[in-house]
Amino acid sequence: MVSPSTPATTLSAKPAPAKPLPYRSPPPKATPPHPSSLRAWLAKARLTKKRPGSGLPARKTIQVLVWVRRLVQAGCLALFCYLLFQTGFRGSFASAEARVRLPLPVEGFLLADPFVGAMTLLSTHTVYRGLLWSLGILALTLVFGRVFCGWICPFGTLHHLSAWVFPSRYGKGSKRVEANKTHPVRQRVKYYLMYAFLAASLAGSVIGGLFDPICIAVRAIGLAVIPAAQYIAGFVTTAATATGIRQVQFASDHAQDFLAASVWQTRQFYFHQTWLIGALLVAVLFMNRFIPRFWCRVLCPLGAFLGVFARYALFGMEKDHAKCTDCNLCLVHCQGADSPQGGVKWRQDECHMCLNCENACPEDVIKFRFLPNRKSALVKPDTGRRTAIATAAAGAALIPVARIADVIDANYSPVVIRPPGAVEEREFLERCIRCAECMKVCPNNALHPAFFEAGVEGVWTPILIPRIGYCEHSCVLCGDVCPTGAIQKITEEQKMGIGQKPISIGTAFYDIGRCLPWSMSVPCIVCEEFCPTSPKAIWVEEVEVPKRVPTAPAAAAPALPSPDGHAARPPQPPDPALAGQPPQPAPALPEPPKPPEPPVLAEPPTQAHEDHLVRIKVQRPHVDPSLCIGCGACEKVCPVQDKPAVYVTSVGETRSKTNVILLEDTDYNQPS
């Protein structure tokens, strides 16, 4: 890095292996400039470099453009990751009263996704807020074709990278050429998927979000890759701590602090059933070994959607078939499997506009330009009309079939607790694209991708699992990042019910057989302490209850048969200072592992009557269903670890007019 020209030299030397030469290029341009004018510029500044094979002079412009594309790809992937890392609340020095919002539009890539826009337009007949940005990508497609796929899409870039880093050793040379030729049968699949998803949207469910590449990227990286990386980092920290060396501990603590402040959060996040999301990501990346950019070519419905619009693109390829020597260098580098080689027609709808072919071509066969003649191009997707109609019909039919299964109408699941601000379930399914932004942003790790809890239609839609995390009372971030309005952008006043009725997402219930004060005469009421509403939805009733104090076996006199052991011992008055204390055995230090108290059944039955019964005061919790908002804080903090004694179910949620308990919440006059 001594001379400023050094990095540029290596830059230009890489795509075409030749001797490096001083590199003087125009400043990189953000969009591909007009090729013909560039050619004129090149004619003037004719350089000495020759292309291998033909000996024609090297064309710097296209080399530069390919590098610009690589930089744009890297930049978009980096931006995507940065926004994903920022999808979480990390606190700030804002004043105590400031509203907590994310400073960045972290859902930006989703807002720019035209497939999401189209699906929600078909399902809700509206374009929600920021989704208008998706027109930008559509406009770009109408000018340049599928540049989104080749230049912008972060998921596409991941596939581009993994096809480059992990190629099969059998996938070189002629094998690679063969793999990159157009395979119409498999490449049609994405169109059929796209039509099916659009028809399903029209039928009322945007299940296409399962296959949208941006949704997949957010979901898989946000819910699987980042938490897994944090988990591994946790092992490293534990190991560093175990070394006992101060410097190592210091370094690892600070590394963890840095990562917690930039990549993940201060605590480990867990996501329900996320192994499948992670495994599918690995699987689809692994497919690049066999079919380069398998996802983009075969499955991606967004790519197919853009492919449909690419036929109107103003920019495209012209081929001079006469010059082609069938060297197949274009095919070696082709990303979209769009037939760039001579002798066949170019497939505009499949092309990612990566420009690799023009860069690789030694004979000037391939030229990208504005308003090209379309003599050797196929612009329309190569799909069978009947199959397209059949798949669309299948997609539309899927929704009623899924709804005949009982989950939505007849047998709504108690565990489908939707985030606060979520719209009514049917409308929710019209909007939720399963992008997992809400789950990523939730500061308490409360939102999780559903598996089949919400039916087959609801796979990976958000549900709240209070045992893992509760809904923070003053937090509205999930609605803030939701790109489609499945969770509305509510205010703190609406959510907490300041001057209005609060938004409820469910109701808490006590399992009094497991509750410590209810059935075990043990004081607790952590639930009441955490109940955030004011007045508290959980209220306590102080009662005096009997508590058994087992007589120590050594002190126990020989069993005195007593007709009524309980009545024989008068209840002891509660000790005022120690009310609420289970009597402790004398503190013994160190305490050897005591033999367990002999179980009552193992003893003669009379032994039980030797126990004291004392009366102690406990506070027994109750729920007021008209005040409970279902946040689940009580369930989260209940000390009965495995199956909590207080739990939240979805009944009583504000968004539903049917899933209610109380008569006064059943408001049939509300417009739907």
Partner: protein, 334 residues
């Protein structure tokens, strides 16, 4: 098959012997004999940050109050700057330099338990925290750390309590309770034994407890000693089953250099979280003391309780952690 050469036989025997030998060495080195060997017999662990000297001319418990309104019909205290109250209280106790030595790493432990704003009086007043930090720096502290292990989501608690900004503005290190900052430790208390402990609080030179006085539905009143709940990680919701002994155990484990109780605004009902502005009342009071038991014994009167009604104060007194008879201490009101 050819006959084996002697060399080959020796080599194979040697290899087999080497594998067996190294396996034996490894197994012996990592042999878990089971049984009671893993039980350690150490005495109880404590972190005692108290200063040993107690100059007889200095008070042991200082109560700083705002000026009385002078209106007999409305005997309230006039609003006064909480920072002034802290300065007066600590000053009467001998000044911060009595407690902090030059170069100390000082941990200030406010209550940042809840996602509530200062008006709700569920967390320590940020201006009280900031003033304690400033005094510690003025007394020569090398580094002042402000931290707590919150109940609600920590980022939100730290921001919305106002403590993050207030402490940062006066130069404190605000540390969020990350998972990697908890280490398993044996407290060897009566009910608390093996718990994840928040490391900044046990790796300090001096610890200043800056709790807020408030109502607590289970233990009636909480202040100084209950603030040590923020010392623990893990599932501390279980402590409620024996909340008084837990508090006494924690207070036994950690004895602070200084306790500054914030009673500028006191939550009277629905503690510890509150949430209703009407549940709290301005009291314009700050209590500074070296005796955390006396701090609670005095503080509980603010919400109309007596020390002997509150079992954990009783227990701490009996364990000799301090005295619940605050009247016997040298008391100063400023």
């Amino acid at each position: 098959m050819d006959a084996l050469s002697r060399r080959d036989i020796l080599r194979r025997l040697g290899a087999a012997g080497l594998v067996l030998g190294s396996a034996a060495v490894l197994a012996r080195a990592r042999w878990d004999q089971g049984g009671a060997a893993s039980l350690s017999l150490d005495g109880p662990q404590v972190r005692d940050y108290r200063k040993r000297d107690a100059p007889p001319e200095l008070p042991q418990l200082v109560v700083a109050r705002g000026t009385p309104s002078g209106d007999p019909a409305n005997p309230r205290l006039l609003a006064s700057d909480p920072a002034d109250l802290v300065r007066k209280a600590v000053g009467a106790l001998g000044g911060m330099q009595r407690f902090i030595s030059r170069g100390d790493i000082v941990v200030v432990k406010p209550n940042i338990g809840w996602d509530r704003t200062p008006i709700h009086a569920a967390n320590t007043n940020p201006r009280v925290v900031a003033e304690v930090v400033r005094l510690a720096y003025d007394a020569g502290a090398k580094r002042v750390i402000v931290t707590d292990a919150s109940c609600n989501e920590p980022n939100r608690c730290f921001q919305r309590s106002g403590i993050w900004k207030a402490a940062y503005d006066v130069g404190a290190d605000v540390i969020l309770p990350s998972a990697h900052r908890f280490r398993q430790m044996r407290l060897k208390g009566e009910v608390l034994d093996d718990w994840p402990v928040y490391t900044p609080l046990v790796n300090a030179d001096k610890v200043i407890n800056v709790p807020i006085a408030k109502h607590h539905n289970l233990s009636r009143y909480t202040g100084a000693m209950k603030n040590w709940y923020g010392l623990l990680g893990g599932r501390r919701n279980r402590l409620h089953q024996n909340i008084d002994t837990s508090i006494a155990d924690l207070a036994t484990f950690l004895q602070p250099t200084l306790t500054v109780v914030d009673a500028v605004r006191v939550l009277l009902r629905n503690g510890p979280q509150g949430g209703n502005v009407a549940d709290a009342r301005d009291m314009h009071t700050v209590i500074a003391t070296t005796d955390q038991v006396a701090a609670d014994a005095y503080g509980c009167q603010l919400i109309g309780r007596k020390a002997d009604e509150i079992p954990y104060i009783h227990m701490a007194h009996q364990r000799g952690l301090g005295t619940m008879h605050w009247q016997n201490l040298r008391l100063a009101e400023v």
